[in-house]
Subunit: 110 residues, 2 copies
């Protein structure tokens, strides 16, 4: 049982990050804000979860980083999807759909 709502995040954070980067490069701080905004505050990713996720994805070759200047004029590390990352995104998206469909079947049928 998840300690709280946040824990449901398990296994899904990387997919969210990939999916967000699919529509353009962003830096970490921005990704966190974006997730919170689009999810209407339901999902709030702490930095202690987000940065490990970004480093994980980078290490696995799904995203790559480039230092640049943010909208506010500060140094920031912008991440963008690689070709592998794009492929991975749709794979994981399919798995997510398949999985939630399966869970919903059980929730309906008991």
């Amino acid at each position: 049982m998840p300690k709280n709502k946040q824990d449901l995040l398990q296994g899904t954070l990387d997919l969210l990050v990939l999916r967000i980067l699919n529509s353009g490069a962003r830096h970490g701080y921005d990704i966190a804000k974006h997730i919170q905004l689009v999810s209407k505050d339901v999902i709030q990713v702490g930095q202690g979860s987000l940065y490990p996720s970004l480093h994980r994805l980078e290490k696995r070759g799904y995203i790559k980083a480039k230092w640049d200047i943010s909208e506010t004029g500060r140094r920031a590390k912008f991440y963008q999807l690689t070709a592998d990352g794009k492929k991975k995104t749709s794979e994981e998206e399919n798995k997510w759909q398949e999985f939630t469909t399966a869970v919903n079947l059980i929730l309906k049928n008991g």
Copy 2:
């Protein structure tokens, strides 16, 4: 990133178990079979995941166990929901809906 599809299970297994017991007492082995059946083989719970889950839920007072005889005539531990467990089930079900809605928002809007 989950190693495989199974890992998506994270944080959801307890909900599935609760929801299944909501329609009547079952024993562990039966719960595993049932999940696999209803989910059309998408979700396969190993015993190394299921039994810890059952013991967790029992310790927290959401289910209680009783030894009985299974359909095949063997000794088996039947679990049934407690009042707390029923309440918990609908709480967790709501959280699940809220969470998947939020994730789907991000998957749609990038």
